[in-house]
Structure formats: C-alpha cells, structure tokens
C-alpha cells in the first residue's frame, strides 16, 4: 500500500497557509536549536583533547560551562518550538475538522444512514486528532530530524571524507529501510482504526438504548455481543502492534550497523592517520547524535502511519459527493407554491423501489392529506420534497420549477418539515429552537412559545432561553418535545409546510391547543399533511392514498368522501367502525 506524499503536502500547504507567519517563525526556532545541537560535540572534542593534554592552553572549566549554556538554551528552544508547533497543528486541524464537518453535514441522507453518529465521532474527532499529531510531528519532528541528520553528515564529511562516505551509507540505508517499512503497517493500522470505530459505534448505540435493553431483559444479549466484539478486535490489535514494532526493530538493527561502521572507521583512522582521541569521540558522538533523530523518525513514522490510515479514510470521505447537488439557482415564485410530481420513481438503494411512478399535482395554497400504511412511501415522498434525496427518475416541480434546479439552502427556506422524531441538542433552549442561529430575536422566540401555549413553561425555566436542555431529555416528555418542533417550524417563514405525523404523539387535549397554530401556519401556504389518523386530514383539500409506493387514489377530499366506493370512504368506515357499531 503506497501512501502518496502528495496528499500529505496538499493537506499541509492548504491548512498551514493561513498561518504562514507562525510557521516561518517556527522554522527559524528549529534552525537555531539544530545549530546548537550540532555545536555540542565540537565543544566536547575541545574538552577531551584539552583534558588529555592534546590542546595546551584551553580552559577546561570555561569549556564545560560553555557546553552547559549551549545545552540549556537548546532545550529551552526545543520546548518553545514544540509549543508553537502544537498551536499551529491544532489551529490547522480545527480548520480541517470544520471543512470536513461542513462537507459531511451536507451529504445526502443515504450517507448518514450507513454512518452512525459514533462512527462520525471517530472520523471527525479520532482521526483528525491523530492528524493534529501528524502536523506537529511532520513540521517539527520529521523535518527538524531530517535537517539534523543532514547537518551531522556535513560535519562528518568536514572531518574526513571516508567517515563521511561510510556514515552516509548508513544514513541512506536507514532512510531507505524506514521508507520501505513505512507503508507495511498502514493496512494493519487502518484495520485497527476501523475495528475500534465499529466497537465504539456499537457501544454508543447500546448506551442510547438502555431503556429497551433493561426492560426486555436483554442485558445478557448485549454483553454477549460485547464479548464477541472484543474477541474480534483483539487479533486485529495484536497485528497492528506487531506491524508497528517492526520499524523499531529495524531502527535498532540499522543503528547498530552505524555504530559498527563508526567504530571500524575510527579504529582504521586512529591506526593509519593518527587522529586525536577527541576526534574519535566526536565521530562516535555524532553517530550517537543520529540515534535520537532516527529513533524519533521511527515513532514519528508510526504516527505518520496512523495518520496515513486516517488521511486515507478522511480523503475518502472528502471525495464523497452528495447525490443531492445544488441546482443552478432557479428562483421560485413568491407566495404559496404549487407542488407537482411527474412520474417520480425512487429507491434508497439500487435494488429497491419505494416510490413507483408517482404523478400528482397540488395547487398553490391547498392542503394535501397523504394517507397510506406504514412503509407505503409517505415519509419518502416528504423527503423528496425537501431534496433530502432526488428522484431516481421523473421530476418534482415547485411552482413550476424543477426542484433540482434550486439551491438546497434556498429550497429548504421555502419548505419546512415537522417530523415525528424530535432531536434535541445539549444546548440552550434558544439554540435548540433556532438551530444555533444567533440572528433570531428573543422576542420572536418568546412570542412563538406563547402562541403554542408554552409561555408558562418558558417562564418556569431557571435560566430562561439560556437554560441548557439535556440531550437525553428524560425529564422532557415526547409531547413537549414535539411542541418545541412546532416552535422551530414557526420560527421560519416557509411557502410549503410538511407535517409528517406531526401530531401523532400529542394527546388530544394538547393537540387542540395547537390546532389553532397549525391553522395559522397553513394560512396562505401550501401544506402536505402525512398522517395515519383520519382526523388529522380533516383540513385537507385533496387526499392522496399511497400503497407500496404507488398512488391508489387521489382527488378532492369532499368528492372522495361522497363516493362510497372510494378507498378514502372505506378507510373512514374501518377507522370509525367502533363509532358505527
């Protein structure tokens, strides 16, 4: 498996460019500290030769103190440059995280169906945090180590050409071996990360379903699955670990070779050219100095290997294109919109069809009641209207404009949806209602809540709109949450309103409370009401009945009502059988 260096560099340049000044400063710090590191063995040579009497007149104590000062400053510079590199790394990866989150959040729903939130946490946080190490390791670590390596080589060539050649051979060999081994571990790390992603996805899923688990005595089942996952995971971890260790072993082997070469050459030069013992020490010391960069390059390469796995996955994510794309930016007519389905066929996967050749139209300002058995395609129809998906074939027109020609953001400004599942964030009431839009004034929110009969509820909150809702929402009834979803809907001004089983979880008394509000919402707007219950479609002008993805009946409600042979009236009969009995 080959990891293209190009991908690294692209990432680096893209996310470092905004902070190039800090990056340049960082490079300066690194160069200075490297120079000082190279100076240390030179000082030691002077010291040893002087101590052995080969260099008369040198002040030993002054040399020792000089060594100390240089060493202390070097350490300080290294620490500071590491701090700067962390800052640069986190700033860069935060940018990347934002880009990726922005990208993923707008991918179409078929992507999100196959990726659990737990998995997204692994990608957006686990993987990218690995990349933050990658940035600091790449910038400070590998770069500075490579430069140090080169610096040492230059110093060795200055001493003696033979030493330079011999140890260059060793350095080049190390680099070649390490580069070769670099890619070996990547597939194992990828497998390990994937497995851990699956494991934590599994955990997250079961942690949100504890109520169902407990009350149905499924604890044993969950633990059994937990153990099975552990057993699958362990061999993958072991392989990844072994793959990683290969590089360490290789470094030790090559480094021993380097030492052996240095010893042999020094022995030879000592015998033939009479170099001083200080110079022998200098050569061995420089070879020794290569230990840290090479050993660090080893761990940094490991990080890089992990980052490679992350980069592979992340660039895979970035390359995914939403199946639903912005259109050319067609403008929709002002006011309520007509809705038209022209022979629309759609399936979530290639081999299934949820909607089959659906054709109907709804006049502007009218309300359509959508009926059908669960799974008949009602919700899917609503999703197509919002362009959460696009039809496989056929077209969907709003106010005469093909929905695919509109920009998503623009379209969803014109259409709102209230679903049966209300998702709450662990955030303030305000943010939960406005979806983190700071521009909605508090008065408007308060007015909407008042309108929905939630005024008292709002006043009972200890921190008002700033009160933080808990994500689990256990102290929050599903009905109340649903009322909040209505409030969300009222805060935008759409041209088309879709109510998807919106009132299903409201008790009748509360439902009456918001009937008035719904009436207001549907006023001068086109409406689509999806319901299982007949009374919910009382306000519909037209009725459409779906069965297994096809229209089995469509027409004005009053007409269908009068026709005793219609499905609608027979449905009414079944639904109200008790009343008739």
């Amino acid at each position: 498996m080959n990891i293209p260096l190009k991908q690294y560099l692209q990432l680096l340049s893209k996310y470092l460019r905004p902070q190039w000044k800090r990056a340049a400063f960082l490079a300066f710090l690194i160069f200075v500290s490297l120079g000082m590191q190279l100076a240390k063995p030179q000082i030691l040579r002077v010291f040893i030769d002087a101590a052995m009497g080969n260099r008369p007149g040198a002040n030993l104590v002054a040399t020792a103190i000089l060594f100390m000062v240089v060493a202390v400053i070097t350490q300080g510079l290294i620490a500071y440059s590491r701090y700067v590199s962390e800052d640069v790394g986190w700033t860069a990866t935060n940018l990347l995280r934002n880009d990726l989150a922005t990208h993923c959040i707008s991918l179409d729903m078929s992507f999100h169906k196959s990726h659990t939130p737990g998995e997204m946490i692994e990608r957006l946080d686990g993987d990218i945090t690995k990349l933050s190490n990658f940035f600091s390791q790449m910038v400070v670590g590998i770069m500075s180590n490579v430069i140090l390596l080169l610096g040492v080589m230059i110093m060795l060539f200055r001493e003696n050409i033979l030493v330079g050649i011999g140890l260059s051979f060793f350095a080049i060999l190390s680099v070649v071996v390490l580069t070769y081994l670099r890619n070996i571990a990547v597939p194992y790390w990828t497998a390990e990360r994937q497995n851990s992603g699956m494991f934590f996805g599994f955990l997250g899923e079961h942690l949100s379903g504890t109520e169902d688990i407990k009350a149905n005595g499924a604890v044993g089942y969950v633990m059994h699955r937990f153990y099975s996952r552990l057993r699958e995971w362990l061999p993958v971890v072991r392989k990844a670990y072994l793959a990683g260790i290969t590089m360490w072993s290789a470094t030790i082997a090559t480094f021993t070779l380097g030492n052996a070469i240095a010893f042999g050459l020094c022995w030879y030069l000592w015998r033939t050219q009479g170099i001083t013992i200080g110079t022998v020490y200098l050569i061995v010391n420089y070879t020794e100095l290569l230990r840290r960069p090479i050993e660090q390059i080893r761990t940094q390469m490991q990080e890089l290997q992990r980052a490679s796995a992350s980069i592979t996955r992340l660039s895979g994510l970035l390359q995914l294109e939403s199946k639903v794309q912005d259109g050319a930016g067609a403008v929709l007519p002002v006011g309520p919109l007509s809705v038209e389905f022209a022979d629309v066929t759609f399936g979530y996967e290639d081999d299934d069809t949820v909607l089959k050749g659906v054709t109907f139209s709804l006049q502007p300002g009218k309300v359509l009641g959508l009926l059908g058995r669960t799974g008949s395609g009602k919700t899917t129809l609503a999703r197509l209207l919002l362009r959460l998906y696009d039809p496989t074939t056929g077209a969907l027109r709003l106010g005469g404009v093909d929905a695919r020609d509109t920009e998503l953001n623009y379209l969803r400004q014109k259409i709102t949806l209230v679903t049966q599942d209300v998702q709450l964030f662990q955030a303030s009431v305000r943010n939960n209602l406005t979806f983190f839009n700071p521009e909605v004034p508090d008065e408007q929110i308060a007015a909407v809540l008042e309108d929905l009969g939630l005024g008292n509820w709002l006043r009972s909150l200890p921190g008002g709109l700033d009160t933080v809702l808990n994500s689990g929402g256990t102290s929050f009834s599903a009905g109340e949450a649903q009322l909040l979803a209505f409030a969300r809907c009222f805060l935008v001004d759409p041209s088309v309103v879709i109510l998807d089983e919106a009132s299903s979880r409201l008790d009748p008394a509360t439902e009456q409370l918001i009937e008035r509000a719904i009436t207001k919402l549907l006023e001068n707007r086109t409406g689509v009401i999806i319901a299982h219950r007949l009374d919910t479609v009382e306000r519909a002008d037209d009725i459409l009945i779906l069965e297994q993805g096809s229209i089995v009946e469509h027409g004005p409600r009053l007409e269908l009502l009068k026709n005793p042979g219609s499905r609608f009236s027979s449905l009414l009969q079944t639904g109200l059988k008790e009343l008739l009995a």
Partner: protein, 603 residues
C-alpha cells in the same frame, strides 16, 4: 494513593501475563547497559587501558546485544498488546455492566456520545499507564545496573549523575498536582466537541431541513477553538516541566565535565570511562524524562478514574476494577435462556408510587393501581401528565422516590431486575433497534427453539413489511433502525416484546406511529391470546374501549379511574381526551350518515 491501589488491583487481574510482560520489557530496557560497556571497551582499547580486545570482537558483541534486544521486543509486542487490551477491556466491561445495572431510563448522566468518550479515552489512559508501569520497572532496573557499573568506576561522579535526577523527580511530584486542573479542563472541552458531533450527526436530517448546517458548524468551531486553547494550556505546562527536567540533567552533565577534567588530567579517568558515563547519562536522561512523564500521567489518571466513575452513579472505584470474566479465549458462553415463570402473574399491585426527576417538580405522586391476570389496563392523560414516567417507575427504569410494588402479594424490592422477562416485557415510546438483523433484534440472543419468532411477527402485524424486505427476517437493521419507517421500528419492537412471552406486557403509546388498520389488527391479535395481561399508555379510542380499567392521569396524579362508561359521564378530563381523539366535524358526520344510509339501502 487511591490510583495506585486501583492499578494494583487491575494488575492482579492477570498477574502472570503482567509478570511475563515485565520480565521481557525489563530485558529490553537493560540491554543498553551492555552497549555502554562495549563502547567503553572500544575507547579503552584505543588508548591502551584495555588491550587485547580485537575490533571484530567488539563489533560482534555490539551486534549480539542488538539481536538479543530485537528478539525481546518482538516477544514484548505480543505480551504487551495482549495485556494492554485486557486492561482496557476489563474497564470497559465493568463500565458497561455497571451502566446496565442502573435504571434503564437513568442509565447515564450524559449524552451517549460523551459516555463513549469515557469508554474510549479514559480506558485507554488506564491501559497506557499500566503498560508503562512495566517500562518503569525496566527503566529502574537499567538505572540500578548502570549505577552499579558507574560506582565501580567513579563513585564521586556517579553521585553527580544521579543528584539532578532526584531533584527533577521531587520537582515533578510537587508540580504535577497542577496538571490535573488543566488536564480536566482540556478533557471536558474535548468531550463537548465529541458530544456535539454525535448530536449533530444523530439528527442530521433535522439539521439539513432547518438549513442549520452553517450555524451548527459555527457552534462546532467555537467548541473546537475553546478546546485548542485549553489543550495548549495543558501542553504549555507539560512542556515547561519537560524542558526543566532536561535542563537539570544538562547542568548535571556540565558538572561531570568539570569533575572529570581533573580526574582525566590525572589519568584516573579514561576517555572510555567518560564515553560510558555520557552514554549512560543519555539513557538516564531519557529515563528521568519518562519517570517525570509517568508521574504526571499517573496523577492525571486520577481524573480518568473519576470520570469513568462519573458515568456509574452509585458505584465505587472497586466496582470499576472488579475482576470480571472477559471471555477473550475459550468458548464464549451463549446468552442465558430466559427461564419460564412457573407461577405466572395473578396480580400486580402498585401502592403509592412516587417519582420526581431530580431537580425538577415533574414526576408522579402517590399513584396506586392493580392489574389482575388477563386484564387490560389503560393509562391515559394529556402530555406531561406523567404516563411514561409511571411506566418507567413501575418497571424500575427510574429509581422511585417512594411506594411499593407487589407481585402476587410478594413485595418487589428491585423492579428493574424483577419486572423483566419472563415476568414483564416492555415497548418504549421511541424504541431502539440495534445493528443486527430483524430476527436478531427479536430474539435478543435467545435461541430460535425457545422463541416463536413467527408468532411474534404475526401478532405485531410485521409480515407485510417483511415480505417487502428482500431478506425478510435476515435484513440488517441500521444503526438506529433507520432503514425502517417509524411504524416498522415500532412493530419490530412490539414483536420483540411479544417474543419474550411475558406474563405482563407493557406498551408505551405503541400506536403513535401506526395507522388505524394496523393498530386494529394488532390489538385483535394481542387479545386473541388468552393469557395476555397488558398495561398500556394510550389515548386512542380503540384501546380505551377495550380497557378493563382506565386510569386518568393529570399533573402526575390519578384524578379518576374506572371503566370508560363510568368515566365519561363523571370525568371532565376523560371527556376532553375522548372527544379530542376525533375531530367531530360536521363534514365527517355528514359523510358517515351518507355511508350508513348507503349501507342500509344496499340491504
């Protein structure tokens, strides 16, 4: 030293594996002592202090030491990966079991995303620290052997090599208590980021529909930035300490130079000796840095243990490190089959049950009810009346404040573990399906011989849906059952409940996502079972009509109870709920009249 005790307890879980691991890693860490001695021999043979050693002998020894070390490393990778995995798995196992012991609706005090981060990061931190104790042992062994060698050469200089080390350790131990606060803040900020990502992607459809992509990302960016700042603070402190420790060692090196200069000039200290001292010092520097790092991380481990305990309210540290089986090897035992309830339900009595959500006035007060075998009891009321809460309190999914339960006259002390199959089964209002097949979700680990899947599927009116699905019962259900519609999820959950074959079935508003016909069919099939005893939350007429007993809740209290025809005349709330269920519009009445007359004409 609580952290040390916990770690000790974890180490004792697999003592032999640990000892093995420690031995191997001690060898890996101490072999460099030999390399130092070989280096000394090289210099001494040049300057004539130790004549007789051939250059090839020296090189051969060098290579031998390296090969020995590499072999140990390979062995160490095997023992360490196994031990590490075992340690984090033990914590994760105990955490999960602890959470599953809690009342189901109050299992974790945070979002699942946050809880996952505890499972991931804090267990990993524990894994690291325990693995590093092995390295600590090895490093200490290296230091002892090295000191032994160095004292043999020059006791005076040896003292100055180790003096700075001691200083560093003292400074570290004093300074690290400050790390915890920074660390905690950084971790909290991190948890906020992961929690938010989880929430956003858990409700991505709502985000897209509300065009909130930009604003949620903006919020994420703020959280990210906050985390960056806190992490940098944490890092800055660590780097400062780090650099301080290295400097201490360098200053120490300088002193050795000064001391050695006198001895070298006098010929009492060879260049080989000097090379050995500097070589060991390099390793001792690494060792002291590691020692300091270990201490810092060890201190931080307290935070990690506390955090892991945080999601297990009511548990102790002891529970966290309990020696529980992990089944990593051997045969994985099957899920224990649910025993049949020999006695069966005669009567469930709830007496003055109260529960209030902590820090809130919401809840239920003094609720009493009685369900006899074969009865159909409906709880009704408007939203926020406490219907779901009542079911949760009975089932022990929340920890009741007061009140008693009696099952066949026997007091039920822990309903959470008593009112489960085969005695009771439950379908929640928004059921969760797990990433498994439809069948797997229904079986919940029980064998097919014990569970009548077909009959459960039939009762839940799931057959038409299964026919639509290409793989029928073997269809994989997505992470949250997303590939099924809301009603389908609910019916799979209902089938799951029916399959439990429990004495008492409890439905929380089962019908909220079902259409009229499906719901009617399901009720019919449930009641065709002679033994069915049901407690149901509903405000549907279909259910209310069938009820043997209706309990009307308002603001968490029972305001009336009885049969429908008793309640309708006397209970205002009941009337409101009853009439609310059908918008009795004139149009519909008119249509019905027409239908009726059409029907009678045909006759």
């Amino acid at each position: 030293m609580r952290t040390a005790k916990l770690i000790w307890r974890m180490i004792k879980y697999r003592p032999w594996l640990y000892i093995m691991n420690a031995l191997v890693w001690t060898s890996i860490h101490t072999i460099p002592v030999l390399t130092g001695l070989i280096t000394r021999a090289f210099f001494n043979s040049l300057t004539g202090e130790a004549a007789g050693l051939n250059i090839w002998t020296i090189i051969a020894m060098l290579v031998g030491a390296a090969l020995a070390r590499i072999s140990c490393i390979v062995l160490g990778a095997l023992t360490d990966s196994r031990h590490r995995f075992t340690m984090s798995a033990l914590l994760r196992n105990n955490m999960l079991q602890g959470i599953l012991r809690r009342p189901g609706a109050q299992s974790i005090p945070c979002s699942p995303g946050e809880a996952v981060s505890y499972f991931r990061e804090d267990a990993e931190a524990a894994e690291d620290i325990i693995s590093w104790t092995v390295d600590m042992l090895g490093t200490i062994a290296f230091c002892i052997v090295a000191v032994f060698v160095m004292v043999g050469i020059s006791p005076r200089i040896t003292l100055f090599v180790f003096l700075p080390l001691v200083v560093v350790v003292i400074i570290f131990t004093q300074a690290t208590h400050k790390i915890e606060a920074y660390r905690q803040a950084a971790r909290d900020a991190s948890t906020q980021v992961t929690g938010f990502i989880g929430e956003v992607f858990g409700s991505v459809q709502a985000v897209q529909v509300a065009r909130a992509e930009k604003n949620t990302i903006k919020h994420l960016r703020q959280l990210n930035d906050q985390r960056r700042k806190l992490i940098l603070k944490d890092r800055a402190f660590n780097l400062l300490l780090d650099s301080f420790s290295s400097n201490t060692v360098w200053v120490g090196t300088g002193f050795i130079l000064i001391l050695a200069s006198q001895a070298m000039q006098q010929g009492a200290f060879s260049v080989g000796d000097f090379a050995l001292f500097v070589y060991y010092l390099d390793w001792v520097t690494g060792a002291s840095e590691f020692f300091g790092y270990f201490l810092a991380r060890f201190k931080q481990m307290t935070v990690a243990f506390d955090r892991m305990l945080e999601i297990l309210p009511g548990s102790t540290h002891q529970d966290l490190v309990e020696h529980t089986p992990l089944h990593l090897d051997g045969v994985l035992p099957d899920v224990e089959p649910t025993a049949n309830d020999p006695e069966g339900l005669r009567e469930l009595v709830v007496n003055k049950l109260s529960f209030h959500y902590p820090g809130s006035e919401k809840g239920i007060s003094d609720i009493s009810l009685r369900i006899r075998q074969g009865e159909f009891v409906v709880v009704t009321g408007r939203i926020g009346a406490g219907k779901t809460t009542l079911l949760r309190a009975i089932l022990g999914l929340v920890q009741k404040d007061s009140g008693e339960l009696y099952w066949n006259d026997q007091p039920v002390t822990d309903p959470g573990s008593f009112l489960i199959p085969p005695r009771a089964a439950f379908t929640s209002q928004i059921p969760m399906l797990f990433s498994d097949t439809v069948k797997g979700n229904i079986l919940l680990g029980q064998t097919e011989e014990r569970i009548d899947v077909q009959s459960a599927v039939h009762t839940a009116v799931l057959e038409p849906d299964l026919q639509q699905l290409e793989q029928g019962l073997d269809t994989m259900v997505g992470s949250r059952g997303v590939k099924l519609s809301g009603g389908q999820v609910q019916r799979v959950a209902a089938a799951r409940m029916f399959a439990r074959n429990a004495d008492l079935m409890i439905f929380d508003d089962l019908s909220s996502a079902l259409d009229v016909e499906t719901e009617r069919l399901m009720w019919e099939r449930v009641f065709s079972k002679q033994s069915a005893t049901c407690l149901v939350v509903s405000h549907r007429r279909a259910a209310l009509r069938r009820a043997d007993h209706i309990i009307v809740l308002k603001d968490g209290a029972v305001i009336d109870e009885g049969k429908l025809d008793e309640l309708l005349p006397r209970c205002e709330e009941m009337r409101l709920l009853w009439h609310g269920d059908h918008a009795d519009s004139d149009q519909t009445k008119e249509a019905l009249r027409q239908l009726q007359s059409a029907g009678s004409n045909n006759n």
